[in-house]
């Protein structure tokens, strides 16, 4: 049962988000035959960054300082409307689907502005790529969520995800399958995982997201790392909420099922990252548009 007004869910998200990144990295390492970093490594990385001092370039303005803070703030606000499968979000109103996408866009906007503010060509290149791909991914995300809204008959995220039970799946199997595939692709795109961007690359010319934050250091960088983890959590919750149709009514059962789903999702991301290579940049738009098509097809099928 949703507990509107309760902040327990966002707090759990805030605490558990970096764990997902840890699971992803561990999965990749295990598949590669290594032991890999500890599961809690992202926490230590963020803590390490927070303890350091920051260095700011001489040409930068307040935009650079605003970037990480703005990004984190937007994502934290998005947590307020984000349901966790059967567990309701603290804030729910009709149209909060658009609010979610808008907050994600706001966070991206802050980061991009900060990147452009540095005046460096590397960041500029990263910013342009980031915006290029989001211009394609955002309609895809909206289409996917719109299809879900159409199927479940509501415009608020919490009721939408409440309705995705086993019965709904049996009813609309092709539609949900297609939307799920789209959400997976968007997850990979927005969080700059392979096959869109390689998070472990050290070659600036091949980076998209990593290169935007080259000039951030110290606490700013820690905030950025933390915001990235939150983004994985949010988009992962969108997908896991769809794929795990456990709606028993009990908060603990639903929440536990979702947690299992999120962990499995992180494992799947790790497996995808290990199995695929990064696409050439010219093929990425095709990839994203292909995902958007899946949702468009699901939407049009449902129209009739």
């Amino acid at each position: 049962m949703p507990a509107p007004g309760s902040l327990v869910l966002p707090l759990c998200a805030l605490i558990l988000a970096p764990l997902l990144l840890g699971i992803v990295n561990r999965t990749k390492a295990v598949i590669a035959g290594r032991h890999g970093p500890p599961l809690l490594q992202p926490y230590w990385d963020i803590a390490k960054s927070l303890r350091r001092g920051a260095v700011y370039g001489e040409v930068t303005t307040w935009l650079l300082r605003l970037g990480p803070v703005g990004g984190l703030a937007a994502l934290a606000a998005a947590l307020l409307v984000m349901p966790f499968g059967g567990v309701g979000a603290p804030v729910s109103f009709s149209g909060d689907i658009i609010v979610l996408v808008g907050l994600l866009a706001l966070g991206r906007f802050a980061t991009v502005l900060a990147a452009l503010d540095t005046g460096s060509s590397f960041e500029g290149m990263g910013a342009s790529r980031e915006v290029h791909f989001s211009a394609l991914a955002e309609p895809a995300l909206l289409l996917a969520l719109a299809t879900l809204a159409r199927v479940t008959g509501s415009f608020a995220l919490t009721p939408v995800y409440q309705a995705v039970a086993i019965g709904a799946w049996a009813d609309a199997l092709p539609t949900f399958a297609l939307v799920g595939m789209t959400l997976l692709v968007i997850l990979l795109v927005e969080n700059t995982r392979i096959p869109v961007d390689d998070p472990t690359t050290h070659l600036e010319l091949t980076m998209i997201h990593e290169v935007m934050v080259l000039d951030h250091s110290g606490p700013d960088f820690g905030l950025i790392q933390y915001a990235a983890a939150l983004k994985v959590w949010i988009l992962g919750a969108l997908l896991a909420g769809l794929v795990v149709p456990v709606r028993s009514g009990s908060v603990w059962l639903d929440g536990a099922a979702m947690l299992v789903g999120m962990v499995l999702l992180a494992g799947v991301i790790g497996m995808i990252e290990s199995a695929m290579a990064r696409y050439r940049l010219v093929h990425v738009p095709q990839f994203i548009v292909g995902a958007a098509t899946l949702s468009a097809v699901a939407f049009i099928i449902r129209l009739v």
Binding site: A170, L173, P174, T175, A177, L178, P285, Q286, V289, G290, T293, L294, A296, V297, A298, I300, I301, L303, V304
Partner: protein, 214 residues
């Protein structure tokens, strides 16, 4: 039976989009083969009287021809002609996909127009058939390679086949098999034509066939 029909519909739509977006001819041929087998199953499930001998003959014939024989012929053609294995489209892949979405909307609208008159036909199959016809036409227009034009023609034939199966119940087998005959002989003839063209021109690039103008 309805979820099965809907799944065939959804996957069929996806095969069309895959054909619009694939850049290698061999992959296109394999998508075509998959599509042929998928829609070949329609006669078996779409009518209430189920697995009649006629339905099985139609389904078997279509699966054999469109799923196995034609792709084999097309792959043979591709192997014989030594040329660029990439599809060269007039319309870029992303634009093709977007056009495909527009065509999907158009076909849904057309289906809604036609549906009242065709009470017994499942809506989604009607939509699939019209969509296949238009996508086949679009593929023929927007691709430069002669082999891709033949593939587009076969997609068109798939659409007509599905349409025939779901709307025409009583007329004799003769006419429905006419589609398969048409496709078979058509592909044969086109294959021979492509062979001659490749021998003469050295490529299957239809864009080079531009000397006759006015």
């Amino acid at each position: 039976m309805s979820p099965l029909i809907e799944t065939i519909h959804a996957v069929g739509l996806l095969t069309c989009f895959a054909l619009l977006a694939t850049s290698r001819i061999g992959a296109c041929i394999r998508w075509l083969s998959f599509q042929g087998i998928l829609f070949g199953m329609v006669p078996l499930i779409v009518h209430d009287d189920g697995l009649t001998a006629r339905a099985m003959l139609l389904a078997g014939g279509n699966i054999a021809l469109k799923g196995i024989v034609f792709p084999w012929l097309l792959l043979g053609l591709r192997a014989r002609a030594d040329f660029n294995r990439e599809v060269q489209p007039f319309v870029s892949f992303v634009m093709s996909i977007l056009c495909g979405i527009l065509i999907l909307a158009l076909s849904v609208w057309l289906t809604q127009e036609m549906k009242p008159a065709l009470a017994k036909a499942p809506f989604v199959m009607l939509d699939s058939s019209i969509f296949l016809i238009f996508i086949g036409l679009f593929l023929m227009i927007s691709r430069r390679n002669a082999l891709m034009q033949v593939i587009g023609f076969l997609v068109l034939e798939n659409g007509i086949f599905v349409f025939g199966v779901i709307t025409v119940v009583g007329t004799p087998l003769l006419v429905e098999l006419g589609v398969l005959l048409d496709a078979f002989v058509g592909v044969f003839v086109m294959g021979i034509a492509i062979y001659h063209i490749t021998r003469e021109f050295g490529s299957m690039d239809v864009d080079r066939l531009t000397e006759l103008r006015g």
